[in-house]
């Protein structure tokens, strides 16, 4: 078939598809971290609230969204598998126990709100509330460790820089969760969240600096890239987003604060991607070019992604506009 021959002969429109797919993988990962991130953040903040009605509102806020948000993780896994199968295989099998810790935490986090709502006796809700908090804390912590191990090519699952990056991601999800909850609540609940936002942002900034210092110290190979204008620019951009977040939180500009939170998430993911590139699996010594699937498959996947991802964006616009604004009386998880 001529069309198959054309698709096998070279990248579509001569585009640098391997690098575009590398970028796309991290855009998908960032989207996951931003969207499911606020679900995790809501879970962490849940621990700090005692009032049953306030807790109920937190759950109601994420109710329609979290499942769709979590699909971005599935798409991340699928896209990595499709475009860089050996990286997917190496990475997931090398971090075997960590992967299952992530899966266990996700099961707990996904199940807990559903169970919490089943019964209204105190003991039941206390324990499922704890499960919700535990899953919401553990998932970003482990994801951060996974990402750090990936970047540093570490075969040890628990390392100091890994734990620092993990805690950084936890703090980031709380920053994200506060911004989301301030969009979804009213009155005192909304006002009380303001100080949580400041604290989480401060914790994030401290942790992100510690993480970068840790990575600088343990990975001499990355030092040159870390001093490159691109990474320094991203750091400056992160500081700018942090300033916008603090200011908009102070002035109750909820949407802008949410956008700033997105900026912080994508900024961090962009730093990781920049430090990794052109390698994609340092532990196995694989570069993007060496790991990418052959031209035909890459072209087909590119066509698929170009057609489908804009549609997915439409689904999310429909979902988020159907449930825009604070939760209404009577709405529950």
């Amino acid at each position: 078939m001529t069309s198959v021959e054309t698709l096998s002969s070279g990248p579509l429109f001569g585009l640098p598809l391997p690098d575009l797919w590398f970028g796309l993988i991290f855009v998908i990962f960032g989207t996951f971290l931003f969207l499911d991130g606020f679900d995790f953040g809501v879970g962490v903040l849940f621990a700090t609230r005692e009032d049953a009605e306030e807790r109920e509102q937190f759950l109601a806020a994420i109710g329609p969204f979290w499942d769709g948000n979590e699909v971005w993780l599935v798409v991340f896994g699928g896209a990595l598998f499709a475009a860089f199968p050996s990286v997917y295989a190496n990475l997931f099998s090398r971090q075997y126990l960590l992967m299952f810790a992530i899966l266990g935490a996700l099961i707990l986090r996904g199940l807990a709100p559903e169970m919490y709502e089943q019964r209204h006796d105190e003991r039941w809700q206390r324990w499922w509330g704890r499960a919700f908090v535990g899953g919401s804390l553990a998932t970003p912590l482990f994801l951060g460790m996974f990402t750090a191990n990936w970047l540093l090519g570490s075969t040890t699952l628990v390392t100091l820089p890994g734990v620092l990056v993990g805690l950084t991601v936890v703090a980031l999800t709380v920053v994200d969760g506060v911004a989301f909850l301030r969009l979804k609540t009213r009155g005192d609940v909304r006002a009380d969240l303001q100080s949580d936002g400041y604290r989480a942002l401060a914790a994030y900034l401290v942790l992100v600096v510690l993480s970068l210092v840790g990575i600088y110290l343990v990975a001499p190979g990355l030092r040159a890239t870390m001093r490159s204008p691109l990474v320094l620019g991203l750091v400056v951009l992160t500081l700018a987003f942090a300033a916008v977040y603090a200011l908009t939180t102070h002035r109750d500009r909820y949407y802008l604060a949410f956008v700033a939170a997105a900026g912080l998430v994508f900024g961090l993911v962009a730093v990781v991607a920049t430090l990794l590139h052109p390698s994609i699996d340092p532990a196995a010594g694989l570069t993007v070019e060496a790991a990418v699937v052959p031209t035909l498959m890459l072209n087909l996947m590119s066509i698929g992604a170009a057609l489908l991802l804009p549609l997915v964006a439409v689904y999310f616009v429909v979902l988020y506009s159907a449930f825009s604004g604070p939760i209404e009386a009577g709405e529950s998880y």
């Binding site: 078939m1 198959v4 096998s8 009605e53 509102q57 109710g63 329609p64 499942d67 769709g68 979590e70 699909v71 993780l73 599935v74 798409v75 896994g77 699928g78 598998f81 499709a82 199968p85 050996s86 997917y88 295989a89 190496n90 990475l91 997931f92 099998s93 075997y96 126990l97 992967m99 299952f100 899966l103 266990g104 996700l106 099961i107 996904g110 199940l111 559903e114 169970m115 709502e117 089943q118 790991a291 052959p294 035909l296 498959m297 087909l300 996947m301 698929g304 992604a305 997915v312 689904y315 429909v318 979902l319 159907a322 449930f323 939760i327 209404e328 009577g330 709405e331 529950s332 998880y333």
Partner: protein, 473 residues
């Protein structure tokens, strides 16, 4: 300490067997939910709102458990079967990625609107979300089965050496992804899902109908359960005969493309003609249970039946026996008995369908207590038959993970230790037991709470209890 190969295989089997229940429920419920939503919007009759809201609750809970168990499966290709993923990934990963983008996304986003958004969106968008959720579940099946069918019948590829490993490269996407096996799997699986859900709905409804009409216990919402029963019987009448019909054609296709699997399904060891089909087979001894051989089976067979099945109508046709194939055989006992029980169940469901249809036609549907009991007892059997069918498909392909290309034992992650694999296997055994218990618990609670009362329906829907606990609870 279990060997990492054995532990990985057991773990994949366990996690798949548990996971598949939830897609079956969501794919099977999807057409019913679309229908209930349509009728609710069009007629405004309270019973359809009750049907929609009750079955949406069940769907939502199943979807949550299906999501969390489904992510596990996607990750396990990498964690436990890294060698398989590296080798097959350049062809096999694509359908999984497209499944996520095309199907799972559609389903998960519109599910939010469908479950939480009745009061937030207009009728048209609400109807669209019902269809989108249903479409999403079925599209998911398409891409997963495209991937699986390639493992059964690999085509459109070449083996290439890359980074020091033999890997599969796609050369002909049409041959690889529009695999003839895919069509059989899709038809058989989707029909089975609707059939399984029809059986579960019918069994549940039969319980309440039985309590009310036969036992004379007061039952709330009798009309709701009667309507559920009737709709479920319609579903069963539409799907049960079809399932047997294309099951027969599918078996023939398996004989043509995977003769070793077919021989295991029939426990035929020596190549023979005029092979009987044992509709009912009894293990007369422990050996015949663990090592069934068609020649020695005690049972009621149709003379020439298996030959007829394999050849498409010729009872004299020759069937290639297992002895013709070199190397290790699939575990014949598991495949043989799973296939037998699945087929027997398929015929039992046809019987149930016609029995119920006949009673309904005669106006005796609510009086036949034996039928009610049969339906109650059969409620979980549809899902059970799906599990058996998948066991035939997957175990029957052994020792291959990709038929004729890669052995399952070669597909396991090379660096995986027995300790790690055993730890996660044990973890899953505990977690999934808990998961199934909780799922059962929630379903029972939903059923006991029953459909929403009339007072709660659309007209009286503003809940004074502000952020209150679940209008739907």
């Amino acid at each position: 300490m279990v060997d990492p190969v054995i532990a990985s295989r057991l773990q994949f089997a366990l996690t798949t067997i548990v996971h598949i229940v939830f897609p079956v429920v969501s794919m099977g419920l999807a057409p019913f939910l679309v229908y209930f939503t349509w009728k609710d919007i069009r007629t405004g009759e309270p019973v359809y709102e009750q049907l929609r809201r009750f079955w949406t609750r069940i769907f939502a809970v199943s979807f949550v458990v299906g999501t969390v168990t489904g992510i596990v499966l996607e990750f396990e290709f990498g964690t436990n079967f890294a060698a398989f993923s590296t080798t097959a990934g350049p062809l096999f990963g694509g359908p999984l990625a497209v499944e996520g983008m095309m199907a799972f996304m559609l389903e998960a986003t519109f599910l939010g609107v469908f479950v939480f958004g009745r009061e937030r969106v207009g009728d048209a968008l609400y109807m669209i979300s019902a269809v989108a959720v249903g479409l999403g579940t079925w599209l998911s099946a398409i891409w997963i089965l495209i991937a699986n069918s390639w493992m059964q019948l690999p085509r459109g590829y070449e083996m290439v050496s890359r980074n020091g490993e033999q890997v599969v490269h796609l050369v002909d996407p049409v041959a690889a992804y529009l695999n003839p096996r895919f069509f059989w799997m899709f038809v058989h699986m989707q029909n089975a899902s609707v059939e399984s859900v029809s059986l579960a709905m019918a069994g549940l409804a039969a319980y309440f109908v039985f309590r009310h009409h036969v036992w004379d216990h007061p039952v709330d919402h009798v009309r709701f359960w009667e309507t559920t029963l009737k709709i479920a019987i319609v579903g069963l009448l539409l799907t049960a005969p079809l399932q047997v019909f294309h099951g027969d054609l599918y078996a023939r296709h398996v004989y043509e493309t995977q003769p070793q699997k077919f021989a295991a399904m029939e426990a035929v060891w020596e190549t023979d003609s005029y092979v009987p089909e044992y509709l009912i087979a009894f293990p007369t001894s422990v050996e015949s249970l663990l090592d069934p051989r068609a020649k020695e089976i005690f049972g009621i067979g149709i003379p020439g039946g298996a030959s007829w099945l394999a050849s498409g109508g010729d009872p004299q046709a020759t069937i290639r026996g297992l002895e013709e194939f070199e190397g290790p055989q699939p575990p014949v006992a598991i495949v043989f008995w799973s296939f037998r029980i699945m087929v027997a169940l398929g015929f039992w469901f046809v019987t149930l369908a016609f029995w119920s249809g006949y009673r309904w036609f005669r106006g005796e549907l609510f009086e036949d207590d034996l039928l009610h009991k049969a339906l109650m007892g059969s409620a979980p059997l549809g899902v059970f038959a799906v599990e058996l069918g998948w066991i035939v498909t997957e175990v029957g392909r052994q020792p291959w993970v990709i038929q004729g290309v890669m052995k399952t034992s070669d597909g396991v992650s090379p660096g995986l230790s027995g300790a790690e694999a055993t730890a996660t296997l044990a973890g899953f055994a505990v977690v999934y037991l808990g998961l199934l218990t909780l799922y059962g618990y929630v379903i029972v609670r939903i059923v006991r709470a029953g459909p929403p009362d009339r007072a709660d329906l659309a007209t009286a829907e503003t809940d004074p209890d502000a952020t209150g606990v679940g209008a739907d609870d």
